[in-house]
């Protein structure tokens, strides 16, 4: 057979394994992760998502602060879930994010008012978990109310569908589930909507981050991990090895999210 020889790599001489991700991550830190969750999903195995465990996961990945929403609010009871979240406002490293239930648009509008008056900067939507389609009147209703209240919306769901309820209302939105398969759709939608942003979590093709930066600007990219239910190391590694410049990387790693939420976290997680 032709080709280069197969032999031990340099890791043999030291204690590292061939998968030494932290060597590639280098000094990169995340100052604000836009996608973290408290609580557990009842329909799947996974971490329990206690506040302590989430903070430990974030700290272990050099994530100094995160915009955190509570699955209790998304899946069971909005008000008590959000209250539990808001009570953590003084907790270093946590930027509380409220949630509303799209299955109850009337109650959702009331909860948006309550969240805004409590000083929340952002609200998170869970359409997939709540079985809500982008075309449902509820989504447009909540989008309009959130925009009027000046709340940033962090939303899950397929960006090819969920872009639509947020158009034409000067909404500031972060699409948390943008997959690189659908990057073209995000790019053409966001070109006309300066308030459209995307999480980096699933933009893990070899050139997705670079394409967003070239087409729209790196200020539209926000590091998102979905800790502790996803591996924070993956988007961290992708960002660290990207072709973005140092200032762009720092912006994606938290500067953009901080600007968007217009409030620097009070204290770091460490």
């Amino acid at each position: 057979m032709t080709g280069m020889p197969i032999e031990d790599g340099p890791e043999k001489q030291g204690c590292a394994t061939p998968f030494d991700a932290w060597r590639l991550v280098g000094e990169l830190e995340v100052t604000l992760d836009v996608d973290a969750l408290l609580g557990a999903y009842p329909d799947r195995d996974g971490p329990p998502g206690t506040s302590q465990a989430v903070l430990e996961t974030l700290a272990a990945h050099r994530v100094r602060a995160a915009a955190v929403a509570h699955l209790r609010a998304a899946l069971f009871d909005t008000r008590t879930g959000n209250d539990e979240m808001l009570a953590l406002a003084a907790c270093p490293g946590i930027v509380p994010v409220g949630a509303v239930d799209l299955r109850d648009p009337i109650g959702a509008a009331r909860e948006l008012e309550r969240l805004a008056s409590a000083g929340a900067r952002a609200v998170r939507l869970f359409p997939d978990e709540q079985g809500v389609d982008a075309a449902f009147p509820s989504v447009r209703h909540v989008a309009l109310r959130a925009a009027r209240l000046g709340l940033v919306v962090l939303t899950g769901g397929d960006v090819r569908r969920f872009w639509q309820p947020f158009t034409g209302i000067e909404a500031r939105v972060v699409f948390l589930d943008t997959h690189f398969y659908h990057l073209g759709d995000f790019l053409v939608a966001a070109a006309d909507e300066p308030g459209f942003h995307t999480s980096t979590r699933l933009l893990n093709s070899p050139d997705a981050l670079e394409t967003v930066a070239a087409e729209l600007g790196a200020d539209r990219l926000l590091y998102g991990s979905r800790a502790p239910h996803y591996e924070p190391l993956v988007p961290l590694l992708r960002l660290a090895t990207s072709g973005l410049g140092p200032a762009e990387i720092a912006a994606v790693a938290g500067g953009n999210a901080t600007r968007l939420l217009a409030a620097t976290p009070r204290r770091s997680a460490r």
Partner: protein, 238 residues
């Protein structure tokens, strides 16, 4: 040393421009060698894609090839296997069940894998969800066949553990664009370490996804080296 057993060469139809970035992508993560299939062969025309890949493989030494087989075109497949496998630059066979409309439990995939078994080379087969269990069943029925369950079932990774337990000629590689917490650690804990491989799906998916997920599992060095290259070296006789 890292060997990527699930990689591609050529352009993709999504909003991406990666046709020429195979080696640069490998370099970002210290991936020394990759076994690639031609994207044209996987998504459209297997013989045409195999042909252009064969020419490209002659120009460098870090890539090895999969002969891509479309189970609907077994006569063409037979010709390609005969043409490319003896040369040494192609070391396995790639079958994508979705692009060819040939599910893991289908008769046509079974026929294709029977053909592959006769070559003595491993087959990388796309698996998703519970289809990895069907692949294990087919593999058990075909003497001598060795298969790699591509993506190790993706969201069906627990089925992949069961499949690997059922068939000792079935190997797993982890690539997926999603990285749910603990997926790799759970598979490693449940599967014979001799049957774990490393794959990325580059240049469709950046290696950060599989590399980061494996790194996050915090594996001991011996296990990591098996996954990184030792098992691939044995399986492909490199």
């Amino acid at each position: 040393m890292i060997i990527d057993v699930h990689a591609h060469w050529g352009p993709w139809f999504f909003t991406m421009d990666v046709a020429g970035s195979t080696l640069a992508t490998m370099d970002r993560y210290g991936i020394d060698r990759a076994i690639v299939s031609a994207t044209e062969a996987v998504t459209y025309d297997a013989p045409a894609g195999n042909r252009v890949l064969a020419a490209y493989l002659e120009t460098q030494d870090r890539l090895l090839g999969y002969v891509t087989v479309n189970p609907r075109r077994l006569r063409e497949a037979e010709a390609d296997l005969r043409a490319y496998l003896p040369g040494g630059r192609f070391v396995g066979v790639k079958i994508h069940t979705d692009y060819t409309g040939s599910p893991a439990g289908s008769a046509r995939l079974r026929e294709a894998l029977t053909l592959v078994a006769g070559t003595g080379r491993p087959a990388l087969v796309h698996t998703w969800g519970a289809s990895v269990l069907d692949l294990a069943e087919v593999c058990l029925d075909i003497p001598g066949l060795r298969v790699i369950a591509g993506h190790m079932g993706a969201d069906g990774f627990r089925h992949a553990i069961e499949a690997a337990d059922a068939c000792d000629r079935l190997y797993l590689e982890p690539c997926w664009s999603h990285a749910p917490a603990g997926r790799i650690a759970e598979v490693v804990a449940g599967v014979d370490p001799a049957r774990l491989l490393f794959g990325t799906d580059a240049t469709l998916i950046d290696p950060a996804s599989a590399f980061g997920a494996v790194a996050a599992a915090g594996l001991p060095r011996e296990t990591a080296e098996r996954i990184a290259w030792r098992n691939a070296t044995a399986l492909f006789r490199l």
